[in-house]
Structures are given as structure tokens and as C-alpha cells.
């Protein structure tokens, strides 16, 4: 689960990390009060969306008067911001962060992720901050430091000093950085983060370290023990069908083809999409109904798939490991009747009681193509979608 910049910065502040004084607004009329409360004569206004690259797309602006802040807020609130990290529809802007202006002497890069290779939380730092960091990593890898933190010992001072060298910090900044690294690691562990990025981490004209941005991603598996973070969830940043699916414990990603897919297991769902493509078709979605494909979940899944007007045929591919295929067959029939599916449905059942499942499907009153072989089922779906 992603957090907005203002939510990330609130967490930073909680962990004594240096962030700008700022206010978040949801209504353009509140911009004036926000500017006055913050004080000063220059402000940064930032559209809040779950994506990077906002600056280059006009989603961040330096303003000299509260009127300009109001104007900016009126322009963006309710609109969608498209950046190179979003899809072509962009992300809805429903809040604006207004901050005091920070004078920047230098821009650095700092992030932390769970690295699969070292099986540690790894901090990544570079003296070259800003949006071209991926290029830096590719072309001049020696300008980047990767520092793995032991899960049981936590971040140590020597690790902060190592990173500080690569960030080219002076003695005073290095002293500031040591507690900063320890607190970032503490935040990462205590709040169950899966990603944390400060880009840029800046050195102010006063020579102090300052977090100018905050990108935070939370491990969804751990949301159950992070009730405060769960409250920060903003469904407007997600595809509506994807969030509807998530509410029902279904994993759905919409794609641009016309063959709706309902599969159990993420791997098999991807494999089914590949098979459809292999036979010349185009999948309309990725959908994993999970290990326990009950009638209720199958109904929900059908509803979500059919909500996409492009879908011409649905391919159901269930390999019954935990569940019995005869129960799934009954569930599919009931779901089709309940939802009122009018387009062709191809069903492939395999595994536990598959023969019984196929028999139930073939005896049903509604039109279902029951095909046991996955290749044949995919070919049939591709043919029906043409």
C-alpha cells in the first residue's frame, strides 16, 4: 500500500526526521489560510498523487503569493495528473500539500528497500539526487552505495558514516545523518515498510540535511498490525475495479485485451494470459480468485470482469488443489445465473474431482464451453473473441 507524500512526511516528523513545515488541503479555499499559518513569503505547492515525476508534469510549483497557491489548487483538485510513472489516465489529485520554501544547496538521493538477494533491508544512497537517479545507477554505479542492515542489530553508526562518505557530507552533516539513518531504519521496521525513498534529500543553503520528499510503501501483509497506517489508505489512487477486487480478496489488474480471465493462483493466472497471447488473443485482465474459489467469490469475480465493456468472452481456468472442482462447477453455474452473463464462457477445470466438475458443467442449462485441456480452452476463447 502506498502513502501520499504528506502522510509520509507526518511519519518522518514522528521519527524526528527533518521535514518542512506544511499543511495539506482538500479545498482550494483553504490555501490562503494554509499559507498564512505556515508564514513566510514563498511556498511550494505539490499535488498529492501516488506517483513520482510530478515536478516534470506541472504537479509541483513554487509560488510567491497565496493567490497563486489558490489558483494552483483550483487547477489541480479533482483533475488527474499524468506523469511518466503513471498510466495514460493518470492519478486523481484530491489533496495539495503546501509547504514553506526550502533553499537548496545540493540534492542527494536516499532510499531503503527489502532486497531479495541479500535478504536484508538495504539503504541506497547517492550524491546525485533528482529524477535521473536510475541513469546514475546504470551508467556510474560507483556513485551509488548499497548498505545492508542486519535485522537483529539495526542500523549502526559506522554504516551511517559509510553512506555519508558517498553522499559527500561534511562533518556536521555526517553527525546529523547518523541519528537520521537509525530513525529511518526504526521507522522502516516499526511501520512495516517495503519501500522508503527520499528524493531529493537536500542540503539547505544553511548546510543542514532536509527531507524534501517522502515516498513510502507499506507491506500489505502487515497492514493488520498497523491500524494507523490502514487509515491512510486512499482508494482514489487505485483503479476502481482493482480496489473493488481487493475488498473481496481478489487480485485484479485491468489490461487492454478482450478475453476476461478468471484463474486460481497468481502464477497460473499469468501463465493463462501468456497462453492466450500465444494463441493470438489478448487478455482483458489478470484475476486471481485465490485458493478457495467459493461461489460467492466466483460471482464477484464475474461481476468485476464483466464491468469491463471490452470483454467478449470469459475464460475460467481453475486447477483444483484445495477446492473440489465439482463445487467450483456448481459455483460457476450459480454465478453465471446470478450475474446474468450473456457472453460466451469457456471453463477449464483440472485437479480435484475434475471429471465430476466437467460433467456438472455439460449438464447445465446455460451455455458453457467445458474444455479440460488448457491449450484447447485458450484456443477456443481466442476464436470466440474474434
Amino acid at each position: 500500500m502506498n502513502l501520499h507524500e504528506f502522510q509520509g512526511k507526518a511519519l518522518f516528523a514522528e521519527y524526528d526526521l527533518p521535514v518542512s513545515n506544511g499543511k495539506v488541503i482538500y479545498d482550494a479555499e483553504d490555501a490562503l489560510k494554509a499559507c498564512r499559518d505556515i508564514g513566510g513569503s514563498k511556498w511550494v505547492v505539490k499535488a498529492q498523487v501516488h506517483a513520482g515525476g510530478r515536478g516534470k508534469s506541472g504537479g509541483v510549483k513554487l509560488v510567491d503569493t497565496p493567490d497563486e497557491a489558490i489558483e494552483f489548487s483550483k487547477n489541480w483538485l479533482g483533475k488527474r495528473l499524468v506523469t511518466y510513472q503513471t498510466d495514460s489516465k493518470g492519478q486523481l489529485v484530491n489533496s495539495i500539500l503546501i509547504e514553506e520554501c526550502t533553499d537548496i544547496a545540493n540534492e542527494l538521493y536516499l532510499s531503503a528497500v527489502i532486497d531479495r538477494d541479500s535478504q536484508r533491508v538495504v539503504f541506497i544512497g547517492s550524491s546525485e539526487g533528482g529524477v535521473n537517479i536510475e541513469e546514475v545507477a546504470k551508467n556510474t554505479p560507483d556513485k551509488i552505495i548499497y548498505e545492508a542492515i542486519d535485522p537483529l542489530c539495526g542500523a549502526q553508526g559506522f554504516q551511517a558514516r559509510k553512506i555519508a562518505k558517498v553522499l559527500k557530507l561534511d562533518a556536521v552533516q555526517t553527525k546529523q545523518f547518523t541519528p537520521m539513518l537509525k530513525n529511518l531504519m526504526k521507522l522502516f521496521v516499526e511501520k512495516d515498510l517495503s519501500l522508503l525513498e527520499i528524493n531529493p534529500l537536500v542540503i539547505t543553503s544553511g548546510g543542514n540535511l532536509h527531507c524534501l520528499d517522502a515516498k513510502i510503501n507499506i507491506d500489505t501483509n502487515a497492514i493488520y498490525r498497523q491500524p494507523d497506517i490502514a487509515e491512510m489508505h486512499d482508494p482514489s489512487q487505485e483503479d476502481p475495479r482493482e480496489s473493488e477486487a481487493a475488498k473481496n480478496d481478489l487480485s485484479y489488474v485491468s489490461l487492454d485485451g478482450n478475453i476476461g480471465c478468471m484463474v486460481n493462483g497468481a502464477g497460473l493466472a499469468m501463465g493463462t494470459m501468456d497462453t492466450i497471447k500465444y494463441f493470438g488473443g489478448n487478455p482483458a485482465n489478470f484475476l486471481d480468485v485465490g485458493g478457495t474459489a467459493t461461489q460467492e467469490r466466483v460471482s464477484k469475480a464475474f461481476k468485476i470482469i464483466l464491468d469491463d465493456p471490452e470483454v467478449k468472452v470469459v475464460l475460467v481456468n481453475i486447477f483444483g488443489g484445495i477446492v473440489r472442482c465439482d463445487l467450483i462447477a456448481e459455483g460457476v453455474i450459480a454465478a453465471i445465473e446470478e450475474v446474468g452473463v450473456e457472453i460466451p464462457v469457456v471453463v477449464r477445470l483440472e485437479g480435484n474431482n475434475a471429471d465430476l466438475g466437467s460433467e456438472i458443467l455439460s449438464k447445465a442449462d446455460i451455455k458453457i464451453e467445458s474444455i479440460n485441456n488448457l491449450g484447447d480452452a485458450a484456443r477456443k476463447a481466442v476464436e470466440l473473441a474474434k
Binding site: I114, K277, F319, G351
Partner: protein
Amino acid sequence: MSILVNKETRVIVQGFTGSQATLHSEQAIEYGTNIVGGITPGKGGQTHLGQPVFDTMEEAKKAVNPNASLIFVPAPFCKDSILEAAESGIELIICITEGVPTLDMLDVKKRVDELGVTLIGPNCPGVITPGEAKLGIMPASIHMPGTVGIISRSGTLTYEAVKQTTDLGLGQSSCVGIGGDPIPGSSFIDILKLFENDEQTKAIVMVGEIGGTAEEDAAEYIKNHISKPVISYIAGQTAPAGKRMGHAGAIIAGGKGTAADKIAKLKECGVHIADNLVEIGAKVAEVINS
């Protein structure tokens, strides 16, 4: 022979009296798996499925001396259960549960490695040696004793590969679902090593998917250390690049992790590629018969 589990394996089930554990333990016992008891804190002294229930692993270890544990406890309690098994001297731990927090797994992985314990999973279908023992949630009927070793990150994709090798009469030596989580207890390489040393295994199927670099690492290992033929299928060849947030993921992956990268690397290292999911079995037969 086979790998990890056989008829002699003495299995203890953690979370024994829960509904999923009960369902799959019943099937495992029916299959011939030597389940010697289970653990459910607070229910020690009871009997479940004809086997004794214990409050702690320590008690179970003394009373019935298990050497493998099968875990079905809910995700918030997996860290505790895995560590309890590992600290009690269990040699093989198979964790089926999905949804375990990644940071829990960082701690767990470090500790099981220190203790030299083999952990499979979490978020996996388990391990089966056809005709001998089933420690997991896979459907028994699709398996058949034979010569193909199967390793996979995905549950239902494993079943697909199993079914195809059974239909062609090849059968399986053992099948291991290592799970799809970012920090799995065992990697492809850990299991490849075991299959290489197993006489019954004549060929190895490795089913991978996009994300991470586990397949690339395995490819390199296969080139240098595996003499048996390896056949691989990579799922997610048509999956679109997801929406991104920030750069950190991309920097750490270094542009690796796509299906095309994985396939190119595997081919370069001498691995046979099944282009399509429905052709895994045929590819294995082709390689074995050539």
C-alpha cells in the same frame, strides 16, 4: 530415493486442529504420510485425527520425536511457529500459510540459516514425494512416482507441470513449491542441489515467474553445478509493467526481472525453455528422449 520427504519422515503439524490443517492432514494421512502428532497451544493432551496434540514443540519432540513440521497457523503467528520448530531441533519446516509480513521473514530466515534448518515457504503448496509422503495442499491424484524433479514459485503452476509429466507417463521424484514471497525459506538453488544428488531424479523442471532475480541466479548455478537436464517455464511473459512509485525498486533490480531477461539468461546457461505453459510436459519428454 527422493528429496526432503519420504515414508520415514516423522511429521508434526503446527496449528493441527484448525480447519485447513485438519482437511490437509486427513488427506496426508490417507496418502500414507507418517503424521505423528500436532501442536495447538491450549489443546495439549487431546487426540485429533487419531494423533496426540501437544501445547509446545518441546513436548512433542520428547514424546513422538518428529523431524519435519508442516505449518498451517495464521500469518500473524508464523514467525513464532517457525522459530519454535527451528529452536526445537526440527530439521525440515514447511510453511503453507500465505500473507506472512516480509519483515518477519527477514528475522526468521536469518535464524533458520544460523541453525542450519531447511525452511520451505511460506506461501507455498508444500512438498510431495509421490507414493511416499505428502506434506502440503497439492491434489494427490495428479502425481505419480517417477523421474522428474519439479521446483516452482507458484502453487497452481506446479500442479500444471505435475499433471503434464504424469499424463506423459514420466512421473515425479519429488515436487517442491518454494513459494512466491520476496523472502522464501529456500531458493531454487537450494532445491536444485538436492535434485542433482538424488539418483531417482533424471530431469528437473523449474517453473519461474517475473519479479526478482531468483531465476537468473539459478541459471548461473545450473551452468556451473547441475549435470542433469533442466527444463524451465517462466510465467508472466505478457504481464504489463506495473505502475511505479519512486526509483528504489528499479535501481535494486538493475533492469532485471522481466520474463525476457530470465529466458535469455536461462538459455545462455543451457536450460531448455518451454515456450508455453501447455508444453512443459512435451518439452521434458523431448529432452529426456534425446
